[in-house]
């Protein structure tokens, strides 16, 4: 089964650039700033582009202009205790290409913060608040970065891996 999973996979940046050079998102990102693309992966039919943390808003604007018009989802993964600890996954859908793109940002544990993409897609508002609430990642330039799920006076960020499933009693 493992062999099958990797059958059509392109697992690093060089393989993706060689194998799918005409992919609209890859092309757009390379034309804009090739240095910002730190890694790429095409696995199980899904394209993942890893972007340098300080470039995420510009990268999102680039793929938005390249036809990925619908922001679908944003969430985080806590890779505690590895470093970099936090991974943000942006899922962006294209109504034209009928295809989904994942932008990935890796953040260090100390003061995790990225630029907000709410100015590009107002729909990112709740999603960024959710990640802020449950993971403690801050989004600079967000119009209203408050807790959304947990009570406003809650302490801690429940979806972090060092937060117990049963909570603190």
């Amino acid at each position: 089964m493992a062999a099958e999973a990797t059958k059509n996979a392109l697992l690093d940046k060089a393989a993706v650039l060689a194998g799918l050079p005409e992919h609209p998102a890859v092309k757009a990102i390379l034309a804009w700033n090739a240095d910002a693309l730190t890694d790429a992966k095409f696995d199980r039919g899904e394209m993942t582009l890893t972007i340098a943390p300080d470039q995420i808003r510009a990268a999102a604007a680039t793929v938005q202009a390249a036809g990925y018009n619908f922001f679908e989802d944003l969430t985080a993964v806590d890779w505690y205790p590895s470093s970099p600890r936090f991974q943000l996954s942006y899922h962006i859908l294209s109504h034209t290409y009928k295809e989904r793109l994942r932008l990935r940002v890796l953040l260090e544990e100390a003061d995790p913060a990225v630029e907000s993409i709410t100015p590009l897609w107002p729909s990112a508002d709740y999603y960024e608040r959710e990640v802020f609430d449950l993971f403690g990642v801050r989004f600079e330039g967000h119009p209203n970065l408050r807790r959304i799920m947990m009570p406003d006076d809650w302490e801690g960020h429940p979806l972090r891996k060092d937060y117990p499933v049963e909570g603190y009693r």
Partner: protein, 406 residues
Amino acid sequence: MTELSGTPILEAPVAQGSSDQHMVLNMGPQHPSTHGVLRLVLEIDGEIVVRLYPEIGYLHTGIEKTCEAKFYQQVVPLTDRIDYLSPMANNLCYCLAVEKLLQLEIPEKAQWIRVLLAELTRLNSHLVWLGTHAMDIGALTVFLYTFREREEILRIFEYVAGQRMMTSYFRIGGLSMEPPLDFFNRVQGFIRTFPEKIDEYSNLLTGNPIFVNRLKGVGYISAEDAIALGVTGPPLRASGVDFDLRRDMPYSGYEKFQFKVPVSTDGDTWARYVLRLEEMRESVKIIQQALDGMPEGPVKADAPKIVLPDREKMKTQMEALIHHFKIVTEGFAVPAGEVYQGIESPRGQMGYYVVSDGTAKPYRVHMRNPSFATLQALETMCKGRMLADVVAVIGSIDIVLGEIDR
């Protein structure tokens, strides 16, 4: 950037242009027309809505966190409880995501039964929407009519899965068991008469002047705004964006079915009402095609290390017993990786993002639920309109708080 904490928010944050003459009104969390525990902070100027600010999280139960402590197969019952009006859609989306991680092919018959039940779920959800939406407007009768048909759908669910609402019928690798013998006849009997029932609802509402006046021209949202605010499903298509995942990015064998995707360009509450009625008719056609072309074969994938063996085999074969014991006690390891699987749920685009680290428990499960994003568009739809219209608009975007708060 400010990080506000400490005192609970009782009023919407002060925005530019708000004045002392505006009144702040709290609607919910206990309010019959908010369809759950939605709380809206409304700033009103007389009867006109100036600002609207949803406060959510009253139903947050940390399902995503709970998933991380369960085996892959134990997450399925949790997904039912996210959106209790369309449990099969959640089951389907999660199972498809894990099957994508496993690169597991499931038999055609299981796929077709999944499509059939997913469309029955759509009818179930739309019937609750129609009944409650009409009740919010004041047409109490329709509720009794739609629940009459919904009851039959729930009985079919009970017949096939043993449960009326929290079905958990779809499992990783197929279905939990073969459907009962005359299951298909029962579904056939239901959809034979169902189109007439839609006409009946339509007769009660479509020509009703009170209903028409309450809906027409209310809650308008343009296609650009709908895309910018993350609106999906019937509200998006009612604004003129012709996009349906079932047709455009097919999953679970939907590419084999012929159906129309209703689209309207009016973008108002009325358009959403008409469009959902059309969708119900299309769902009936899909169910009919699924019944007519139902393939033969097993309903579980041939993967003994992932799918539980049949009860009979377990009692007679040593190997099956061992597999059963291993799956139940240790789960099954899933290759490392991350997938995002999207489906068209009754409310819009649902997505499950599952990250595996190679163990038997999901490292992270995230749900993208349509209501959560659609709720952000509520202010755009209601701004500058009468307070009473808010009730009509909430009904028309068809939110379920269970899936917003998770």
